[in-house]
């Protein structure tokens, strides 16, 4: 690694494939966000004649699309930074890109042409009970897309682990020598986070494979009906893992990039190691909070769900979030756009985390489960958390590649739009959730009086959030220039 020859084309090639991933994100994000705007518009009661199957198809595409886009954008950005230390395969990245594009096309066809409305976690057996709303080919396309994406992302995450294993032993990559006090190499935090995350991805994708096999056996192999509780456990184990790991990709960017702006190093120490190993152990059980209202689930699993959901918040708060604050406090930070977005992202992660922990209390969940509180908290730590982290990371990359001077005043105005627009939208979700407005309603009935009102108010904030367009334009321009160079 250290004797890289001047003719080495790896860095340039890595930049290229990363920029293509970034392009996917920058194009799909606004489109999917507009689908969000469409949903809120319909929920506000405008265009009331729209058939509900449109709402649910749009909801499915928005959810699957957003979860997918930020997963791949996060993994791509993290791989790019990781390439300072180890060498993920470029071929694998290109293949994953191609297969992801194929998966996206299949999902768009299934939802927008086939009107597939199964929701982003397609809870078994709903895909097979369309009541005539979507054709069988749309269901087939959904599972086909999941298989394609599953294979692509397994191989891609596996390759990141392979690259890490090329330089560190597994115990080193998890930082265990920091705990045992034995001799070992210095391991940057991003390597530890990448190791934990990619192990998590593989563990999650195993469940996805099992789901596909079980359902495939039932539908194609003539097996009997599956156990719905088992499949729900597997589905949320997989879904929760994917979503949580995406967060960690964003956090990896924060660890790696923030020090460049604060002028203070962020080194691995026992605390960092302890925190990420705890996360690896606990994140597997937190998903259980999605099944609190399944009274048939064994009670000890419910209690385990609340315990692990509570505890998994501790390393995040005490190590990552606290350290971000220490790193920043009285530092020489100039608050250009990249660190601003990273910092705001950590804040959104913290705020969304509090909302999540509150809802992971079983007695509270009785009142919040499947109300708008749920989209409220996950949009907070997604849109106001990991998305801002990744946008910050991408901006950092774009500026570094083109060394163009930033118009800081414009950046400030835009950041203000994101904060006011974003948190306004979040508040509309939280208040609705606390008022028992159900999530996933194409139209609110009379009994849910505040639903349309809050949806209407949120439109103003979503439009404000559109200040993001400025970011997309700027960053897109820089990326195109970097590609041409």
């Amino acid at each position: 690694m250290n004797d890289v020859a001047a003719t080495d084309t790896y860095p340039a090639q890595m930049t290229r494939v990363t920029l293509y991933w970034v392009a996917v994100g920058l194009v799909l994000f606004p489109v999917l966000a507009i689908l969000g705007l469409v949903m809120r518009t319909l929920q506000a009661g405008f265009f009331a004649a729209t058939p509900p199957e449109w709402f649910y198809a749009v909801m499915t595409l928005h959810g699957l699309g957003m979860v997918g886009v930020w997963f791949v954008a996060g993994l791509a950005a993290m791989s790019f930074l990781l390439a300072r230390y180890v060498r993920p395969s470029l071929t694998v990245s290109w293949i994953a890109l191609g297969m992801t594009a194929l998966g996206v096309v299949m999902l768009v066809a299934a939802t927008l042409v086939g009107k597939l409305g199964v929701g982003w976690y397609f809870l078994y057996p709903l895909p097979f009970f369309s009541e005539g709303t979507w054709p069988d080919w749309a269901t087939a396309a959904l599972f086909g897309a999941l298989a394609v994406l599953g294979v692509a992302w397994t191989v891609w995450s596996g390759d990141v682990l392979r690259a890490i294993a090329g330089r560190y032993r597994l115990s080193e990559a998890l930082g265990w020598h920091y705990l045992s006090g034995r001799d070992g190499p210095d391991v940057p935090p991003i390597v530890i986070i990448a190791t934990v995350s990619c192990i998590g991805v593989l563990a999650g994708l195993v469940a996805a494979v099992v789901i596909l096999l079980l359902i495939g056996w039932e539908v194609l192999g003539g097996g009997t009906a599956n156990d719905a509780l088992l499949i729900k456990n597997l589905t949320f184990y997989f879904g929760h893992m994917l979503v949580n790991i995406t967060m960690y990709f964003g956090v990896a960017l924060v660890y790696e990039i923030m020090p460049a702006y604060t002028g203070r190093p962020w080194k691995t120490n026992t605390l960092v190691v302890l925190s990420w190993n705890t996360v690896l152990a606990l994140v597997m059980f937190a998903y259980l909070h999605h099944l609190y209202m399944d009274f048939a689930q064994p009670r000890w699993l419910q209690v385990l769900g609340q315990l692990s959901s509570y505890l998994v918040s501790v390393p995040a708060a005490v190590v990552t979030i606290f350290s971000t604050l220490v790193l920043t406090y009285r530092s020489q930070m100039g608050w250009s756009l990249a660190p601003t977005l990273l910092y705001l992202g950590v804040m959104g992660w913290a705020i969304g985390g509090v909302a999540a922990v509150i809802d992971s209390t079983i007695t509270v969940n009785q009142a919040f489960h499947n109300t708008l509180w749920v989209p409220a908290h996950f949009h907070t730590y997604y849109l106001m958390g990991v998305v801002l982290m990744i946008l910050g990371g991408v901006y950092h990359l774009a500026v570094a590649l083109t060394s163009e001077a930033e118009n800081v005043k414009r950046s400030r105005v835009m950041a203000a739009h994101l904060v006011v627009g974003g948190y306004g939208l979040m508040l509309s979700f939280y208040l609705a959730g606390a008022d028992a407005v159900p999530r996933r309603f194409a139209a609110y009935p009379m009994e849910v009086a505040n639903g349309p009102l809050l949806a209407g108010i949120s439109l103003v904030f979503i439009i404000l959030f559109g200040g993001l367009g400025l970011y997309l334009w700027d960053t897109g321009r820089l990326c195109v220039r970097a590609l041409r160079a």
């Binding site: 809870l123 509780l229 609340q306 009994e447």
Partner: protein, 189 residues
């Protein structure tokens, strides 16, 4: 369960977090050194307080799980059967297939105040959720309706009135229109 407490708790926490982030951000106007020893002490305090807070909440909430306690015997049983896109609530067993739905279903069940009522919730097709809303629109209680399972939800109604039932697990095209009714009447003395 009232949602005011968790909402206020959340808004308060969010305000504290935002304030801390703002203060730290502003501190960069006068750059200097951080006292790492002090920072680590503060981290310890934060760690311990967080654990204490979480332990308190665990202690307060875990003893109140909504799941049926085997010791208590329900005084009234309502069989809830769900399908795309309707609920049936009956004292008898209710419809056991889509074919017999029209014959056996009832959209409304009557229960008494002050009585331990057990709703035995099933589904004939996909997952639904059986959620009871109070006459003034609060979410009183809920449980999932899952293929192959019976989920038992126990409720004691304090106030008489018309309680709406809505579906809280997305189940397809008319999910938002799925309805049932629990009519709660004053217990006869």
């Amino acid at each position: 369960m009232t949602t005011t407490v968790p909402l206020l708790l959340f808004l308060l926490s969010a305000a504290i977090i935002a304030t801390v982030f703002a203060v730290v951000a502003r501190s960069t106007a006068r750059a200097g050194e951080v006292d790492y020893a002090r920072a680590n002490h503060l981290r310890k305090v934060f760690f311990v307080s967080l654990l204490v807070i979480l332990a308190i909440f665990l202690g307060l909430t875990l003893p109140r799980l909504p799941y049926p306690a085997e010791a208590a015997v329900p005084e009234q049983i309502v069989n809830v059967v769900s399908r795309q896109f309707a609920f049936s609530l009956t004292e008898g067993p209710g419809p056991d297939s889509i074919e017999t739905w029209e014959r056996d279903f009832s959209p409304l069940a009557e229960v008494r105040t002050g009585t331990l009522v057990e709703f035995r919730v099933r589904t004939l097709d996909v997952n639904h959720a059986f959620a009871i809303y109070t006459p003034d629109g609060r979410l009183l209680a809920q449980t999932q309706a899952m293929p192959g399972y019976v989920n038992r939800l126990r409720v004691v109604f304090d106030e008489p009135g018309t309680y709406n039932v809505m579906c809280l697990e997305y189940c397809g095209l008319s999910h938002h229109a799925m309805r049932g009714v629990v009519e709660v009447v004053e217990e006869a003395q």
